[in-house]
Symmetry: C2
Subunit: 484 residues, 2 copies
């Protein structure tokens, strides 16, 4: 519910004269007209949503048919509804989530059913007065203690639904006014229907266009690395206005913002992925938790990039008045090289290919630029007196120094991301393809597929390497470029 003050403001923004006359009716009409457009967009954003909805419809339909198959209905009777309930409640978007909920439901129903039956038996032999008192005490204690256990972060992550169903089933069985024979028959029927429901849900979920939480996590982390890379590739040109086409590129750079808050969804996906059997490229016991480590590095890197982005944004910014070409060149190099490295790493992770030499060489180049900048700062006092065209003007340097310093952090994170991807590749249950000559070629192609102005940048950077005053780094770079 938006507060009226906000509503008023929005309305005023809509246009001073038009919006008020439109009134409530027009707004409702607008909503009605917009609805199918929004629906279409929702489906286009991720077509798997449409497939998932049809799958849920199918699973519910299948399980509803039990009512019309006489042998089933005669055997199960009204408890057939538990199959419908189970399908609706258990069917989730990804296989991991569905399996998790299904297993939670089945296990919890079994355990709580057995415990409830025991308590019901104990109560029924303790006389007319003892019966409700004993049941009351057990119900209270169990509901309270299991609710408390649900607060454990680990239990909440994996068994929250199971614990809920545990309380539910325990209460239903132990409290019920049935005789013991009735309970056994009811339990038998209910467990059967729940099994039928859970299996229907899991079957439809796995065998018709399955959505694997593991795949999603893998792609999410790889895409996040790519988004960071895209920002860094474009940042240098945008900040130093080399591209010269102003605003147009800036919106293009904002992809990284989704990385800032992806921790929660990564953790959720990792928890779901652990329920999944081996599939596609992923074996059983794939180290899903390691993705959280890479994801964490991504976020750390994204925080720095968010700060860097503040320097593109004119609202909160130190004055931009760059004059020193050398610093500019090195910053652009750090940015574009680390960006390219991250894109290569994203590609390697996505295709599960060992990070190819191109990634390492980009990392080395960006590190070299960072070191170069540091040593340039070290010798700056001398340079200020000596070299022409490069003067220490502190006011001009402030934003550049900050950007350089932040980029240096980003380079360090790119190195750590590379390391952690290599660590992932070295896990015993993980198989990364080795970067064969053919793959390597495609890997190089992917790095040159970044559009014409990046090629220009690379050429310019290459020419910079020749001018480099620090011989050691120059040699290092030549060694690296010959290795590509």
């Amino acid at each position: 519910m938006a507060s009226p003050a906000i509503c008023d403001r929005n309305n005023r923004n809509d246009g001073e004269n038009g919006s008020w006359s439109m009134g409530l009716c027009g707004k409702v009409m607008n909503k009605v007209v917009e609805f199918p457009i929004k629906l279409k967009k929702l489906g286009q954003d991720d077509p798997r949503r449409v497939v998932h909805s049809l799958k849920v419809g199918l699973a519910v339909l299948l399980v509803s048919l039990l009512y019309y198959v006489q042998p089933f209905y005669n055997g199960l009777g009204d408890t057939t509804m538990w199959a419908v309930i189970t399908v609706v409640v258990v069917f989730e978007f990804s296989v991991g989530a569905t399996l998790g909920r299904g297993l939670n439901r089945i296990l919890a129903t079994f355990l709580a059913g057995a415990l409830g039956f025991g308590v019901h038996h104990l109560a029924s032999i303790s006389g007319e007065i003892g019966h409700p008192i004993l049941i009351g005490i057990f119900v209270f204690l169990l509901a309270a203690s299991v609710t408390f256990i649900r607060f454990f972060p680990r239990m909440k992550a994996r068994f929250d639904y199971g614990l809920l169903i545990f309380i539910l089933t325990f209460c239903l069985i132990s409290v019920s006014g049935y005789r013991e024979e009735e309970i056994l028959e009811m339990a038998h029927k209910r467990v059967s229907t729940i099994l039928i429901g859970a299996f229907t849900a899991v079957f439809v979920c796995i065998f018709i266009c399955p959505v694997w939480a593991g795949d999603d996590l893998h792609n999410l982390v790889a895409n996040n690395i790519e988004k960071l890379g895209s920002f860094l590739e474009g940042f240098g040109d945008e900040y130093f206005k080399v591209a010269g086409n102003g605003e147009s590129n800036r919106a293009h750079l904002q992809g990284y913002t989704s990385v800032l808050n992806s921790k929660q969804s990564e953790e959720t996906q990792a928890n779901f992925a652990r329920w999944e059997p081996r599939h596609g490229k992923f074996r059983y016991r794939h180290p899903w938790r390691h993705y959280l480590k890479i994801g964490n590095l991504n976020q750390q890197c994204a925080y720095r990039i968010e700060t860097l982005n503040g320097y593109l944004n004119s609202e909160i910014q130190t004055p931009l008045n760059i004059q020193s070409n050398k610093v500019q060149e090195l910053c652009m190099k750090m940015s574009s090289e680390s960006g390219k490295a991250l894109k290569e790493l994203a590609w390697a992770l996505k295709t599960m290919t060992e990070p190819c030499a191109a990634a390492s060489s980009h990392i080395t180049k960006s590190r070299a630029a960072a070191n170069n900048l540091t040593s340039m700062f070290r010798t700056s006092a001398a340079a200020a007196a000596g070299e022409g065209g490069y003067q220490v003007r502190l006011q001009d340097m402030v934003p550049a120094v900050t950007v350089a310093s932040l980029l240096s952090d980003v380079v360090a994170y790119a190195e750590q991301i590379e390391k952690s991807i290599q660590e992932l590749a070295s896990f015993p249950h993980v198989q990364f393809k080795s970067a064969e000559p053919k793959t390597l070629q495609s890997c190089n192609t992917s790095s040159s597929n970044v559009g014409p102005h990046h090629v220009i940048t690379m050429d310019r950077l290459a020419s910079l390497q020749v001018q480099e005053p620090h011989k050691e780094i120059g040699t290092k770079l030549q060694r690296v470029s010959s290795a590509i």
Copy 2:
């Protein structure tokens, strides 16, 4: 499931000789011994968890008694179980969440029940063969379309549970093999029991130690501002090692990290809070969404602080070799003053008092220091030649300039946070107490309650103001300090 490689590494870290001999048995024993300690910690961290668990136990017990109250049981029979199911499923930690789920359940049951009855009637008049076909088509279409609607972010946030129950109830009613009279009786009983269950849950939730999602959101945002303030207050001393006691303070500064990822929980709480009636300081239509705006600024500020924190961390750091006292002093001032300002703002928000003059004066001081630093950088070329004791040594300046630049961003965010809190206070449904002289006094006291070394910092800062070369800012500061 930790991967074996990680397990091995952990074991090795436990101590080369001891841990292997301990074996599985020892580990299980350890877990068993640790369990009560963890339980105790969980309760101590938030005692409301214990109360909530007892409340759930009580609500389930109350609703179970229906089985033993003969008139109820005779009237409702087996459908009594729906009361138990409703309590277990609807009862959530906060009032908002419980109300939201309860209303969702009741509304969805009504609507889906009516629709299901209509479809059942339509099918029953369409003959033996038409009946299952028509029901099948309706069930498939409704389950698929409602599942798709659940993907709308807005629907997911507020009505996800309702939509689930809608599918469930519709299928149960329309598919069931009952005659129409039976359905009407069943529907009547089920709606009654669901109402009883929902009201029991809501009653216990509201009238026994209620946990308001609105309060939680309010406190979360205020505490987050305070955490940022605490970091900034301590950062200057820690970075420039004035306190001199090395590592001890660093852990104390890490409170802000929780701010980085609090967006999700803020959004969840805001959604719950919108279900809540007026309570405590909050009227109906309190602008909960505005807290998300403040929260967003907090996160933006936290990203900068995270970057700043990287400069405390030795792993990823530009070399620290600060010699220029002036920059150091101004940085410390920016940091500590903006920290104090944020703490005052947190206090003002928490107690819903209009931000007192102290907050503004701290903001003004930190802004003055930032401007001062900028103008110092502007005149630095001249200063380098003229003034003694302050020389431009670029290498030494790099980390300081970066830190100064980041702190300048942080000051800008502190200003924005102040503005948005004032904006919150100006909403028509919000009542902030005006900062009366008495409140102002306590406000000032709260800022001086920060321990002895902060007092030293303040004294030192006060003495710095006198030495300030820029007369205009000096006068401004004197004006400000006289206003406190």
